[in-house]
Structure formats: structure tokens, C-alpha cells
Amino acid sequence: MRMTPDVDAPSKRARSVRADDIAISCRVRLARNLENERFPDWATERDRERVFVKVRSALEAEKTGLTLKPVDSFAEQHLNMLRESHVISKDLLERAAGGGIAYAESSPVCVMVNEEDHLRIQGFADGLDMRSAWRRADALDTLLERHLHYAWSPRLGYLTACPSNVGTGLRAGTMLHLLGLRLLGEIEAVVRGLERMRLLVRGIGGEGSEAAGQIYQISNMDTLGIDEEAIVLRVMRISEEVVRQEYNARVRLIQESPLVLVDCLARSLCVLQNARLLSTVEALEFLSAMRLGASLGLFTRLKVQEVDKLILLMQPGHMQIRMDTALMSDERDEMRAGFLSRKLANVKLKC
């Protein structure tokens, strides 16, 4: 999807906005549990290990290319890196023994074992290609089902640890960058509208309660009484509408408040090029503005994909993996500031 704004100077420098610049990625998660096994929160360590072994056998039998490994076999930095990449949840890391991760580098699917449910099968895709994310998760689920006896009832569907997931066990989510709506003060109205449509809206990537960097995750609330394809289509269609609203907000920013927009970009670039200490959340806020500027083509030598890469690389787990050492918080802040300053040294604002 490509949309071209009809804007006048000083917005002539702004290039057309791609929907992919707003919709970062999407994910479909399937919650599954094994029959005759306690759910992880109530299971003993032995129960959880038994589930782990069953899932590992199923994955090996189908040659999925995924290797299931215990959570505690990963280095802490590696786990943080996986969490920052949204491959695994923080919830998984906080649980007791028996937790497992099945994934392969660059694979668009992964399985978390003994998180809130016995299995959390996830399919990923870029932008709003949610059908691909669903197909990937569904295919892996169907393969595993040959070897695992899922807890399921004809009336309630897949039985999950929390009744809020019962039915399809499917959560379809899109990750959207909505800084334009935020700058225009319209994000709260959009969020309220989405919640009225029974969608969950959460912040993502930040340590605080708000959507750090104005990156939001939108996902379905209902999992029962609506089939998988319909859930996926609904979340996708509504996300497309939000993307359109964000696009319009960006066009209006360019047309109606160019000075506010350019000021925001200039300040962000200035801080990122010159700061000596930057926390993750702080850096994310400024990189969010850089991302908006890059999507509008207002920076020289900076693409949206490059900003996305910086957003990932400046997070604690990724930084520590790159440095191959554990870093204290203040050391990380200093290194993060230096890293971003170097990476953005040659970037200039066009207007």
C-alpha cells in the first residue's frame, strides 16, 4: 500500500509515506495446552519438565527446523535480546523451571513452552501481512497436533489457562508507529475507538506504562465465537484503517504544522548526535521522531529500516551481546549515547 500526499512547500521535500513505514510488523499467537496436564502456573517442576519433553519430541518428529531448549540454558543477554526482538515474552523469563524456547535464527515462527500456557506458537510477518503470520503459526500448530494431544472441547475450543484466551487461543497483533497522531493530540481518541471495537491496545518496547516511542500493539480481545480467519481479517482491516489515520495525521502535520514537525525532528537529531548519556526509553522517544522524519524523507542518509535497526541495537540485551559483556545501567547509557551519536553523525535535516 502506497499513499501520496498532496502537500505544498515546505512539505515538498517530504516524500510519499509508505504504509510499511507505519505498520512495523505483525504476529499471530496460538495458545495450546496438553490434555491431562496441569497448566504451568499450577504445575510442579516435574509436570513442566514432562510437558517440555513431549513438545521437544513433537518438534523433532516433524523436522520443523526448530530446536527446543530450556530457558535456563540461554545466557541472560541472549534472553534479553530475544525479548527485545519480541521473539519471547518477559512472562516466560519470570517463570520457574521447565520453560523452553524453540526458534531458529531468521525463522518466522517460534514456540514458547510453559509460559502461561503449555505452548505459545507464534508466527511473524512484516508490515500488515497478517495472513502470512497466521499461515505460519497454523502450519506449525497442525504439525505439532499430530504428536500432541491438545486440550480441546467441542463447545469451548482450545482450553487455556486463562478463560480470556479460550476458543481459538488466537491473538493477532499488529505493531504500529503512531507518532503523527500523538503529535496532533489525537492518539487517545483513536485508542478509545479501538477499545470500543473490542481491541486491545498496548504500548510496546518501553519500560514505562505508556507506549514508548509511540509504538503500539493492537490485537483482538475476543477469542471465542469467531473463527481464526475472521479474527485475523478483522485485526488487519482495522489496523489498515489506523494506518490511514496516521498517514492523514502525518500529511496534516506537514501541511498545517511544518514548523512543529521540523522542530521535533531537529531537536531529536541534535540530542542523538550530542548526548553523552541516554536511557533506553529516552533514546526510543528520539528515535521515534527520527523514524517519522525518515519515513517522510526529511533526513539525508537515513532510511526507516536503518532507524528500526538502531531501535533494536540500542536496547540493553543487544548492546551487551555486541559488547560481549554485562554492563551496568549507567555504562549502558553512556555506550548507547556514543553508539547512536556515531551512527547518526552524518545525518542532516533537509529543511
Binding site: N36, E37, W42, L170, R192, G225
Partner: protein, 182 residues
Amino acid sequence: MKCEMCHKADAATVIRKVVADEMQEFFVCQDCAHNEERRETSHVSTPTSLPGETDGGTRVPLMGMILDAAFEIAGRSLSLKEPACPVCGILRDEYRKRSRLGCPACYEAFSKELDAAIADLHRATQHTGKTPEKARAAWHRQQLVNALEDAVRGQRYEEAIALRDELGKLNGSEAATGGFPQ
């Protein structure tokens, strides 16, 4: 469900707030609920606050609230100390507090109150969607086993023989197709 404020911990509580003249519910964890309460008393706005809002501030355990409503609708009171699930043995008040069921069998054991809660949560009561072939077969087999045991206990031998034969056919067809991997 994750807390709608910190997006980290599980939501355990509902707080109600008036936002733009409209009562809204936010599913939050206990920590955020306490923080919200403190903020409310000191009149400091929060990330989810909007200008002009006033906070009703009542809060109750999320699943507990839904279940309480279910109890009320059902018009019966059940002992919270009763070990309601015969398979995992968790107590009613344990799963109400933690908002997590103990095992798949809890859905049957707690069906009286859970059915209403699920209808409230999802606005639906019947699954439509993917059906795992083997789970459905296993479910059918279990239903037959239960019915057979019931028929034997009730000394309804003709019915028991028919159920046994049906079970035998089911097991035979599963054996022919390789059966269910254990």
C-alpha cells in the same frame, strides 16, 4: 491479559474511571492499581489520564468480579474452600484470586460459574474455528467412556453393551489409523 498500564504484569484488577464523560474500565495489575490510587489522591495525571477526567476509583479482582456476577446470576453460593476440580484439586478461591485455572478439567468442574464468566468476557459461548481431529476423537471417546460407566452404575446393561460396541469400533478405527500418539 496484561496490565493495560505497565503492560508487564498480568491484569488482576479492574479500575473504573470517567473519561470524557464516559465510564471506562482499565484492566491493571495490583501495583498499577495502587499507583493509580495514589495519583488519584494527589491529583496528578497519569499516562492514561485525560484532561478533565474524574476517577471513580473502585476496583475489584478482575476474574473474581466476573465470577461474582456469575454467582449472582446463577443465584447460588458455593463454598470457596471447596476443592472444586477433581483432577487438579484447586480451590475455588485459589483460581478466583489468580485468574488462572488449574488444568483443562477445571472448565468442566467450574462450568456453573465459568460459563457465565466466559459469555461475559467473549460475548459468545460456542467455539467456531479450528478443530484438531485427534482431540475431537479423544473427546468423543471420553464421552463414551463416561456414558458407559454411568450405564453400568445404573444397571442399564443394554445401553452399556451398545456403548461398549461403539467404543470398540472407535478404538478399532483408531488402531487401524495408527491410534493417537501417547
